[in-house]
């Protein structure tokens, strides 16, 4: 695909401006206007890319001006900053395609005046929808790169905040900005990110997740190795911690890295609550995820092999709910899990209002009917619904998908060897997590390698007075979060 597109793209190399015009005029939205002043100006533009009002009010009055004798006069009189006169075909092509107007006198097509009249079609900055929080700021990124950088710069009024813009994608030529705070972010991380983005060879980059998949350390892993967020406050906080942010034009999701596994279970709202609450909620979230992954495999293991593990009273309840079920536990679980997955997929694809209806129809009607028809036990229905609910507690959508998927191997292992099988599956997962790295940094940090100071903001969210140092994970240039003079003075006293 890549080779073919390159071929069509360069099959007829244009040699001059009129050749370029010939190619462009094949498209119906490419317009040409002619004015009969003493310069005989020709105006070329893509109608779909420019703001017609700007042209009408700012350009047309001068076109009939008889005092203008050459392009330079016209350029000086036009009320725009970014006008330029050039004969470089590459620049002309690029600018025309990004919403500029080309002006050239009829007799001389060598020199072209380029004037910006870009039509901005972006939606206004709106509320976060995926990472909604009840407390705190309600701003989310949008598709426009400059707006997104603006949202970050507004929160970080620092000359050290640096933005490196790279062009990625053979055809799309998407602008990708690598954002970091100079002096805090680790230079190795910045270099790694920039180098990996530069090394990307692909024709289209339409979203930051393309970049995310192409630059991560292990792309075969179901676990995300870069954090993606739509919250500017979260990105700002990550930048201050010494992480690197990647913003892609056309994507409302910003990637930050390096990250750790526990980072995915930290909601930014945790920082708006007092620390005991925040810690409690984080622990609840992590237990919810473990429950979500392990509960149906345990159901399969216990009901297939180890019914003696269940206390006798509970066993009675389970048996009575299962006595008419014609399937073995594993089949029952797989059917119900797949039903939930179906509902989830359908709910994600359908328009909001229909989605709600389908949710009710699927969740309540099918669920109740399946139990009444004797296809599944209601104990399992409760467990599967709880597991599905628990998987939604993850603040980052991407890790929720991972949790959806990884329970299936667990179910298979549980069917093979019961609880021992589950423990083997857990060991495989732990090894996989140990082997993962995010931009070369260990993924299971701070547990392994054990960096006890980093525990202050992982499983727990300890008070801000304890968060004196930036995480060791990012190996920042400036480790102290607080006023460095004050902390060093204190240290001196202690010694």
């Amino acid at each position: 695909m890549l080779r073919r597109s390159r071929k069509t793209h360069h099959s007829n190399p244009v040699e001059n401006f009129s050749g370029l015009l010939e190619v462009m005029q094949k498209s119906d939205d490419f317009k040409r206007l002619q004015f009969g002043s003493n310069l005989n100006l020709n105006i070329y533009y893509y109608q779909s890319l420019i703001d017609t009002d700007k042209v009408k009010t700012n350009l047309l009055p001068y076109c009939h001006d008889l005092t203008i004798n050459n392009l330079h006069d016209l350029m000086n009189i036009l009320p725009f900053d970014e006008t330029e006169i050039t004969s470089d075909l590459k620049i002309i092509e690029e600018k025309l395609l990004s919403g500029y107007i080309a002006i050239a006198p009829n007799h001389d097509l060598q020199q072209v005046l380029l004037m910006p009249a870009i039509f901005i079609t972006d939606r206004p900055v709106s509320q976060p929808e995926i990472e909604f929080s009840v407390l705190g700021p309600k701003v989310a990124f949008i598709e426009d790169l400059n707006t997104n950088i603006n949202l970050i710069r507004k929160r970080l009024k620092l000359p050290q905040l640096q933005v490196k813009v790279l062009q990625v994608g053979k055809i799309t030529k998407t602008s990708v900005a690598v954002v970091y705070i100079d002096g805090i972010a680790n230079q190795d991380n910045i270099d790694t990110v920039i180098q990996r983005i530069n090394d990307i060879e692909y024709d289209q980059i339409t979203d930051s997740s393309f970049i995310g998949q192409m630059i991560i350390d292990n792309s075969a892993s179901p676990f995300a190795q870069l954090m993606d967020t739509e919250r500017p406050d979260r990105v700002t906080s990550a930048l201050i911690e010494g992480k690197v942010a990647i913003i892609c034009d056309g994507s409302p999701q910003v990637l930050t890295g390096p990250t750790t596994l526990v980072g995915f279970f930290a909601s930014y709202e945790d920082y708006f609550l007092t620390w005991p609450l925040a810690t409690a909620f984080r622990i609840i979230r992590i237990f919810a995820v473990m429950f979500s992954v392990l509960v149906t495999p345990l159901y399969v293991a216990v009901l297939t092999y180890h019914y003696h593990v269940v206390p006798i009273d509970l066993l009675g309840t389970i048996i009575s709910s299962r006595k008419d079920i014609p399937f073995p536990p594993v089949l029952e679980v797989l059917i119900l899990e797949l039903t939930i997955e179906l509902l989830r997929e359908a709910g994600a694809r359908l328009p909001t209002k229909i989605g709600q209806t389908i949710g009710i129809v699927g969740g309540i009607v099918i669920g109740t009917a399946a139990v009444e028809a004797g296809l599944t036990s209601n104990v399992l229905l409760i467990l599967v619904a709880l597991a599905a609910l628990a998987s939604f507690t993850t603040p980052i959508y991407r890790i929720g998908n991972t949790i959806r998927l990884i329970r299936f191997p667990f179910i298979i292992f549980a069917q093979m060897w019961g609880i021992i099988g589950i423990s083997i599956a857990v060991m495989f997962m732990v090894t996989h997590l140990l082997r993962l790295t995010s931009l070369g940094r260990p993924y299971t940090e701070p547990f392994y390698p054990p960096r006890w100071p980093d525990l202050k903001d992982s499983f727990f969210r300890l008070p801000f007075s304890v968060q004196k140092k930036r995480p060791i994970l990012t190996t920042t240039g400036d480790k102290n979060r607080m006023n460095s003079r004050r902390t060093t003075a204190k240290n001196g006293k202690r010694k």
């Binding site: 593990v309 206390p311 060897w417 609880i419 423990s423 083997i424 060991m427 090894t431 140990l434 390698p449």
Partner: protein
Amino acid sequence: MNTQQQKPDISQMVSPFLIFFILFSSQMGEGILSFGRKITKIAGYDSWISVLITGFLVTLVIIVIWRLIPPHEDLIDIHQTLFGKIIGNLLSFLFGIYLLVISMFVLRSYVEIIQVWFFPDLSLLWFYFIIYLLIVYIVLGGFRIIVGFAFFSAWIPLSLLFTVYTPFKTGHIENLLPILSTDYLNIIKAVEPIVSSFLGVELILLFAPFIRQFHKSRKWAISANIYTTLLYLLIIIADFFYFSENQIQQLTWPALHVWKIVSLPFIERFEYVGISLHFGSIIATTGLYFWGSVQSFHRLTKFSFRGISIISAISGVACMFVLSDYLIVEKLSALLTKAGMYLLFLYIPFLYICHIIHTGVKKRLES
């Protein structure tokens, strides 16, 4: 990361305090579940003293090991400098075989528990295939990954420690009294069976170059050994509180029967959960021994680490069928215990003496 180097660079090294978890994990094998039976047969209710004695002796061995190893060198280098290339490499090869056999033995004796408790008709080929796949997956990650696995698994015995609460609450402290009712000689003799539960110390001979500031890490190794000793002590005393002397000798795995007493509101037979959790420790021990054996073969030959580990894994799966009968496993256990005891208490001190003589002669020659 997958390419294991013969001599480690900084990216493969681990912090010195992780030696605590490495040593503790390599000591935690199947032994913790079964040693009660073996030592009670010899020294009765006084065998807890043997645990303390063994712990003390192994601490001495640790001190000797730390004095024996020169910086950035492992057992293979020591063998070569002391005995020359051919004999030294032969000894290192035997050591590698010994480690491989232990790794198989640890796994095999745990599979026995799984067969007895869970699945009498377990499909062994398939099971060993998956387990060795897991071990190779861990080992190929490099030293840091196997240590990470050992690190996580080291918390399992600790989390299972709450099970001793019930025997302590309902048991009889009088069982232990009077202390020293057994013959002194029997207490000393009981050291032998329990040594197999303390094995793992010899792995440090190979791990040493992978540990940053190795010579500062001795205190962590000693504290790991003390921790192991205390854990065993707690378990054996819990056994003694709850069971009579004769009963323990009847139970193949006394610790499992202690788990059986535990009753939680939502779990009836806790030993099922316990066996599944403890399997993590077993895989860590097997993995550490497996890594040690592959590393020694890798150092001796020029084959790749990956190739040797795959060959070792296949031979491991194959050997498991030779060890199909539990009586053979028990015989092997006795043999390995003897080998381990001689290794720790005779061979390592012998190496140390040779080392002292060698350095002394070298110094004299130089001056």
